[in-house]
Amino acid sequence: MLSRTAANLYWIGRYMERAEFTSRLVEATIRLNALGDHAEADQSWRSALSVVGADQAFDATGESVGSLNARRHLTLSEANPSSIRSCLSQARDSARAARTALTVELWEAINRAWLTIRDRTSPGGAQATLNLVDSVKAEIRGFEGGLGRMLRSEGCWFLHLGSVIERGDSIARLLDVKYYLLLPPGQEVGGKLDRDQWMTLLQIVSARTAYRHLYGGALQPWLVADFLILRSEMPRSLIASAEETVALLSSFAARSGRQGQADRLARARLDRMQDLDIEAVVQEGLHEWLHAYLRENAAIDQAIAQQFRFG
């Protein structure tokens, strides 16, 4: 496979995952605001913007953090490189360039997702925004379905690799923005607002019922952290991303008989995480731990680019 094609596939994986994550973030924030009082709404949007690293780009627009502006910035803005529109546009550009490496089904899913948002000029009201992100999510599910039916070969692995690297990145940033909610046990917590926030967090990663299955009972902030970081049953947990990264890189190695820096970094990360428990993470400082994870994830991303000659 051409190195350029590989790079395009990897980035399609990343952008589609990012578009999906931003969709869920918007959806959950709208829901959170519907539950809470309106005075908190601007704060929720500011926090959503910082999760996707779009707060600075937003401030540069000089707009006020109202619901409409924030929703527009996250869904449709061309100035925000992580808006759903930007992600889908870049995914589609890469898909056009790597067209021969994609199945018709995958191409159609990406193209349709792009067509869903291409002509939108305003996100409309909260309900219209929910409808918009719903249809984007539906097309992205089509993409994921197509991925599952693709030939298990390099092309498929690069798409997957992009999405698991991106997923690790976005979940870690999500947790970091909300880390003050996940303080150690014993601290006074548990007001209605906190509860809503935890629910929101779980909803973003589509894991509300899964949490109840695993832990039963009431929401405990440190269990939510455990769940999203260290439980490999949870497909969007950080450890699940770490495991999948190792597995995907091994598939390449099995095919080519060669390994590289990316394999070593990914395995080392997984080994360390397997020995961790959530108390140790909290001891180290959740914020610091998450930042170390983000740095390591970026290093693996770099190593992948080098190993497969993306440059």
């Binding site: 051409l2 350029r4 094609t5 067209r99 021969t100 349709r112 060669r258």
Partner: protein, 479 residues
């Protein structure tokens, strides 16, 4: 004007209600299918093309940068006998074209024998000095030719243009057939249509057959300018269907006159490049230095005989419209027989007598740039405004050698589904002729372009034309 007396390919000259022999089945299908059903199928075809991303970019129109070419659901039909004559004529012409290119970059016999003036060849902007004296692997230059044909009567076919640089449009031949099979399967029960789906396979065989000697399991690639190019869809479609890599210039490198492509497992040697970029952009060391699309050193690798380029650099000399006017002489010279397919009558404005005739008859003629394509830089006298005619008159007087003129032909029409029901629209036809080391192959079909505007003669997709499927009928009793 033309439309009143145009030959209709279904109804013949009369415009009566009896179809030409062999096409009765299409006529009865047309009379039985309700307009609403045709409308439904037409919409379904457009939706399918859009969702598959079969698009065509139009230069100079930003908002329309990814337009689908309108597809018309009523096919255009050639009988087996018509096709037999066409394909014999095409093969004869393309063999002559390859012989001509081989000659003008080699012994130049045709010039020495005084068949064609030296200056029109050697002084031509399309004459590629970089390859003079170099013979292409296996002597094949124009591997893929798109020969534009027009028709004015039951037996009157003319060659309008020879596209021998990087002709495009073949993906429409294949996708239009897919659309027809999906949307009007019953037509294929009514008519014995020759299949076209072997094209990618034949093209692949053609390309690989021209690999330099010594390449035992040759690797072919398709070189595209990238996904912003207007024909990118076709590039990816063909690469995909041939099972070869679709590469951009940056994917290739030349080392010691060998071409390599960069893959995730290291570099892989390339033997044949089906290039869909113009000569000028192939190699910044030889042609345009500002080309970011090409590969430095590619021409050296080609001249060293280490890689085959399809089409070969320099084929533009046979694509030039001034050379076109000599094509009947060229065919006679190399084939030693009469051309089966005639040219359209052509006035070379470089010749003073022709120029004065053209200037006197601008209102009746089509004037073209010798090196123009895509319907750009063209005057259609009968429909032009006085201002346009004045502009061309000035241009002709200033640089007559840049122009040729041809009569306005009454292009044949084919019934077409329009907003106001079924109506005749003018068409042309581009079959694709493949030449490999072992001879010429023509897949029975091609691209029919249709001028969707009533009375219009401009079929170019860049100028709002559409396409139709082109059925070639099997000889009676063949199946």
């Amino acid at each position: 004007m033309a439309e009143a007396k145009a030959f209709d390919e279904l109804w013949g000259d009369g415009g009566a209600d009896t179809a030409r022999p062999g096409l009765e089945a299409l006529a009865s299908w047309l009379s039985e299918i309700p307009a609403a059903e045709l409308d439904r199928r037409q919409l379904a075809a457009e939706a399918a093309f859009r969702s598959l991303g079969i698009t065509f970019a139009v230069y100079g129109k930003e908002d329309a940068s990814e337009r689908i070419i309108p597809f018309d659901i009523i096919p255009r039909i050639f009988t087996a006998a018509e096709w037999a004559r066409l394909s014999a004529g095409l093969e004869q012409r393309v063999r002559a074209i390859n012989a001509f290119i081989d000659d003008v970059y080699g012994a130049q016999r045709i010039i020495a024998d005084g068949v064609i003036p030296a200056d029109i060849v050697l002084g031509n902007a399309q004459y590629c000095i970089a390859v003079a004296g170099a013979r292409a692997p296996h002597g094949v230059y124009a591997h893929i030719c798109g020969i534009d044909l027009v028709r004015t009567g039951a037996d009157e076919f003319f060659v309008l243009e020879d596209n021998v640089r990087t002709p495009s449009g073949v993906s429409y031949m294949l996708e239009n057939r897919e659309a027809m099979l999906r949307l009007s399967p019953e037509l294929f029960d009514l008519l014995e249509v020759e299949p076209v789906d072997s094209y990618p396979e034949v093209l692949r065989e053609t390309l690989l057959s021209t690999a330099p000697d010594g390449a035992t399991t040759p690797t072919a690639v398709l070189l595209t300018p990238g996904h912003f190019n207007s024909a990118f869809y076709e590039h990816s479609f063909l690469a995909d269907n041939m099972g070869i890599e679709l590469v951009e210039g940056t994917d290739l490198e030349v080392d010691d006159d060998i071409v390599w492509m960069r893959t995730i497992h290291g570099r892989v040697r390339v033997d044949v490049i089906y290039r869909r970029i113009d000569d000028a952009f192939l190699d910044p060391l030889v042609f345009r230095a500002d080309s970011a699309l090409g590969i430095p050193g590619l021409m050296a690798a080609y001249l060293a005989g280490n890689v085959s380029l399809a089409n070969a650099p320099g084929t533009g000399i046979a694509d030039d419209k001034a050379i076109y006017s000599y094509m009947p002489e060229i065919v006679r010279y190399y084939a030693d027989e009469e051309p089966i397919l005639p040219n359209v009558e052509t006035w070379r404005c470089r010749e003073p007598k022709a120029l004065s005739f053209v200037l006197e008859h601008l209102e009746e003629l089509v004037v073209k740039l010798v090196d123009g394509s895509g319907g750009y830089g063209m005057l259609i006298g009968p429909t032009a405004t006085r201002k346009e005619i004045a502009k061309f008159r000035a241009a002709l007087e200033a640089e007559p050698e840049r122009y040729i003129a041809q009569p306005t032909l009454a292009l044949s029409t084919v019934p077409t589904f329009t907003e106001r029901g079924i109506a005749p629209r003018h068409v042309d036809f581009r079959p694709f002729v493949l030449t490999g080391a072992h001879g010429v192959t023509i897949v029975p079909g091609g691209l029919t372009r249709v001028a969707l505007t009533k009375g219009s003669l401009v079929v170019n997709s860049s100028q709002g034309g559409g396409t139709k499927d082109s059925f070639v009928l099997a000889p009676a009793g063949a199946r």
